[in-house]
């Protein structure tokens, strides 16, 4: 399975990012490079879980405003800055759902669905797409989030672990269990 290439960074880029952060802590205007680098990633993460495109742009802006306001609390721990931004995005998203009393959206691609069915070792893909689509909607939020991050956004377990603040192995185990639950519902 191909993984999201944007998240993984070399040591040089990580160190450069650390410099940008320390400069931005002194002068907020220096936050520009980080904003440019991560805007698209964060927007896609938000939009994946929302229906309304404009709302997604608003939430993305809120994520960066919050990040800039709390930048003095950020501590560099050798992982990409985006893992911190994703956590802010997650909390902003849920806040937005609560405020608007809106439903959380799961955007599924047919190709991704086919990949998942492959994981279930099923032969007839087309007949089961609709069933799987329904089963996804019945998953609990934490399980759905894991499936989404791993199978629809193609993120590595390391990245999932950093976004959800768990270890890589724990992310792997949790994703496996979520997939098992989905499979159980699917094969019912």
């Amino acid at each position: 399975m191909a993984v999201n290439p944007i998240y993984h960074q070399t040591n040089t880029t990580l160190l450069q990012e650390r410099d940008w952060i320390s400069e931005a802590k002194k002068d907020p205007e220096r936050f520009g490079p980080l904003y440019t680098k991560y805007h698209e990633q964060i927007f896609r993460y938000v939009y994946q879980r929302m229906d309304d495109q404009e709302q997604a742009f608003d939430v993305t802006s809120q994520v960066f405003i919050k990040a800039l306001s709390n930048l003095h609390k950020y501590e560099f721990r050798g992982v990409p800055f985006s893992s911190w931004l994703y956590r802010i995005a997650k909390s902003e998203l849920y806040q937005n759902f609560r405020d608007r009393k809106a439903k959380r959206t799961v955007n599924v691609d047919s190709v991704h669905l086919a990949d998942m069915i492959e994981e279930f070792d099923e032969v007839d893909h087309t007949a089961d797409k609709n069933k799987l689509f329904k089963c996804l909607g019945q998953l609990k939020e934490p399980d759905l989030q894991l499936i989404e991050l791993r199978y629809f956004e193609k993120r590595s377990y390391k990245e999932i672990g950093e976004i959800l603040e768990v270890t890589e192995n724990n992310a792997k185990v949790k994703t496996f269990r979520a997939l098992e639950k989905l499979k159980k519902q699917f094969l019912k």
Binding site: F31, T36, D51, S69, K103
Partner: protein, 261 residues
């Protein structure tokens, strides 16, 4: 009810479309406007509030009006000064008394200790008024008051003021020649009251000792200790109890003396 909405194959947004919507200036502007000024933050009010309270408390405590009574109090003045105070013999006064309005009564209760000749203004409820005529009489000069005859009930009462300040060779507090002290050999009060017991705190050469003595005399061995080990250092005479001929017992103010050669 499930709070999830699932969509299939939504049209993807291009990177260019997302990049076009980037607006860092908006983020920066919102960040600046969202920043709370220092004077509005709780962090500011903590230290500033404490400083303000401290200042107010200090101002109130330093206000000379609050110390007016203490300043006027001769006793507190005398206790502070190291100069010896010469006591005069007690005075017995008789005066006409009057009852004034309650507020005035209260006022005169306070000043009755100070006043020597408050002829019409003394509270008749206290029959005996202690006073020291030698202690700054100008401070205690009574105010000339116009008393409304309608509201005032005049009475003629005999008031006896008795001086019950203890002293050694006429010194109540401060420096006293140790020879003079030993020559006097006793704690005086006045003709009516006589000291019957007292406690003295002095240095006996080994440690500071507290001794309770009966009678008003200063024993010769105590004099010897005072001469040898207490010259220049304070000696406290406390719990002075005096009695009159009729057996009335009275506790007298404590003395602080400094023996000198």
């Amino acid at each position: 009810m499930k709070n999830t909405h699932t969509t299939l194959d939504r049209e993807p947004l291009s990177s260019e479309a997302i990049r076009d919507r980037q607006n860092f200036n908006y983020v920066l502007k919102e960040h600046v406007s969202a920043r709370i000024p220092l004077w509005k933050s709780a962090w500011f009010y903590g230290p500033v509030g404490i400083a303000m309270v401290t200042m107010v408390v200090s101002a109130v405590r330093m206000n000379p009006k609050n110390d007016q009574y203490d300043e006027n109090s001769t006793l507190s003045k005398n206790m502070l000064s190291s100069e010896p105070i010469q006591l005069s013999k007690h005075t017995v006064l008789s005066s006409d008394m009057s009852i004034d309005e309650p507020s005035e009564v209260k006022k005169y209760e306070k000043s009755s200790v100070k006043s020597t000749k408050s002829a019409n203004d003394v509270n008749p409820t206290s029959n005996v008024i202690e006073e020291n005529t030698a202690l700054k009489p100008e401070v205690f000069a009574p105010e000339k008051k116009i008393i409304d005859p309608v509201h005032v009930r005049k009475e003629t009462t005999k008031v006896v003021t008795v001086n019950t300040m203890p002293s050694i060779a006429g010194v109540f507090t401060g420096r006293i020649s140790v020879n003079e002290m030993c020559r006097s050999g006793k704690i005086d009060c006045n003709n009516e009251f006589e000291v019957i017991a007292y406690t003295i705190q002095y240095d006996n050469g080994v440690e500071t000792t507290i001794e309770r003595l009966e009678g008003n005399s200063i024993p010769s061995n105590l004099c010897a200790y005072l001469k040898r080990f207490n010259v220049g250092s304070p000696v406290f005479i406390t719990n002075i109890v005096a009695a009159d001929d009729q057996g009335n017992v009275k506790r007298l103010p404590s003395m602080s003396i400094e023996p000198t050669f």
